[in-house]
């Protein structure tokens, strides 16, 4: 069993010392059971006594279970320590100011550096009716679009007017600079707090009819999470909550008073590049990817599916709340930017 662990203040709180103390508790319990097992070993007792044999087997089983549980808890502790280190430096070892300086230099070399902000043209690619509201984090993850049409906006009608759910795709690492969702989009956000992908998303929100007071909930993967935070920080939108998955949330403006859940694999280098996981507002959940693989495999959206399902299973979330006044199914619309055509 892996324990997802929250590493920020807010609804949940942890201390590394508390976890280390419990790991030591399990170590001592395991040692005592091992000593009891040694005393009941076959060399210590009559080999034809079934009760003795079964009792010894129970102790061996107990010791094995304790070792497994302690290993899982130690895995969680190991996941937290890198995040603690990331408070002061990027996982690559470079001090954060150096990364920011590099980002600014690259942005100045970009052909788009003179053009922020811009209304990036978008077009609708698909529309579906009969869309149910998302029930949990897993539903939200499943609705994050792929890079072909990286923006999805769901509209629901309520007794007090429309409300929207926005889903934003992550970086397309195979894309070139003509695509706003290219890797450079992250650098654009790091350096200036703006990007063409952010501008495209805002264009789509206007096209969908999202106004400054329209309730909006945003879910984003990777660069999509940065866009979610930027929108939540903007006075132009009324964001009720955000969910970011595998996003370097520490690099953008901190948001306050907006409920936020950030989900990250410690094996995923992208969130680590955010540096200061705990300084972003909201609650950050660190949980090992399963299977555990370091690097890009721990960043792709599908690798987060089982992680999000485990967090959903803990059943403690009312972060985004129910929307009891939603009147019937909604409509989903997908958008892509014209510059990717």
């Amino acid at each position: 069993m892996i324990f997802p662990v929250s590493v920020t203040e807010g609804t949940f709180r942890y201390t590394l010392d508390a976890l280390l103390a419990r790991s030591d508790d399990l170590r001592r319990v395991g040692s005592l059971v091992a000593q009891a097992s040694a005393l009941t070993g076959l060399s210590a007792g009559p080999i034809n006594d079934p009760a003795h044999i079964l009792f010894h087997a129970d102790l061996v089983s107990m010791a094995a279970d304790l070792a497994t549980i302690r290993a899982d808890l130690d895995g969680v502790i190991a996941a937290i320590e890198p995040a603690e280190f990331a408070r002061a430096s990027v996982a690559t070892g470079a001090p954060w100011p150096v990364v920011r300086l590099l980002s600014e230099s690259l942005t100045q070399l970009s052909p788009w550096s003179e053009e922020f902000p811009r209304a990036t043209p978008i077009r609708e690619t698909e529309r579906r009716d009969d869309i149910a509201p998302p029930r949990n984090l897993s539903d939200r993850l499943d609705r994050i679009p792929d890079s072909d049409s990286p923006i999805r906006i769901d509209r629901f009608e309520t007794s007090t007017g429309p409300r929207f759910e926005l889903y934003i795709a992550g970086t397309d690492f195979s894309a070139g600079p003509a695509n706003p969702w290219w890797a450079g989009g992250n650098l654009e956000m790091f350096a200036s707090g703006q990007s063409r992908s952010l501008a495209a998303t805002e264009t789509a929100l206007r096209a969908a009819g999202v106004a400054a007071t329209t309730p909006l909930v945003i879910t984003g993967h990777s660069q999509g999470g940065l866009i979610a935070i930027a929108l939540a920080a903007s006075p132009r939108y009324s964001v009720d909550g955000i969910v970011t998955i595998g996003s370097p949330v520490g690099v953008v403006e901190e948001i306050r008073d907006t409920p936020a859940i950030h989900i990250a694999h410690p094996e995923d280098p992208v969130p680590a590049l955010g540096g200061t996981v705990s300084e972003a507002s909201g609650t950050t959940w660190l949980a090992h990817s399963e299977p555990r693989r370091l690097g890009a495999d721990a960043h792709v959206l599908k690798s987060y599916r089982s992680t999000v399902a485990r967090i959903d299973a803990m059943g403690e979330f009312d972060l985004l709340g129910e929307s009891p006044n939603i009147a019937g199914p909604g409509t989903a619309v997908w958008y892509r930017t014209r510059s990717t055509e």
Partner: protein, 58 residues
């Protein structure tokens, strides 16, 4: 039986005490904490049964 039932039971009793104190520690709360406490309770129940078993084996 070649073992000292008192020694085995004593080890298991001490293990139960450690788990009791573990569940009472401060410094961590949330659903993961609740999960740990539930596991510790299950482990405690098993250890108590084993300690009873150790005393019952003659």
């Amino acid at each position: 039986m070649g073992m000292s039932t008192q020694s085995v039971a004593a080890f298991l009793d001490e293990a139960v005490n450690i788990l009791d104190r573990s569940r009472e520690r401060d410094g961590w709360f949330g659903p993961a904490r609740n999960a740990y406490d539930s596991l510790a309770e299950e482990l405690r129940t098993r250890l108590v049964a084993l300690a009873v078993g150790a005393r019952g084996i003659a």
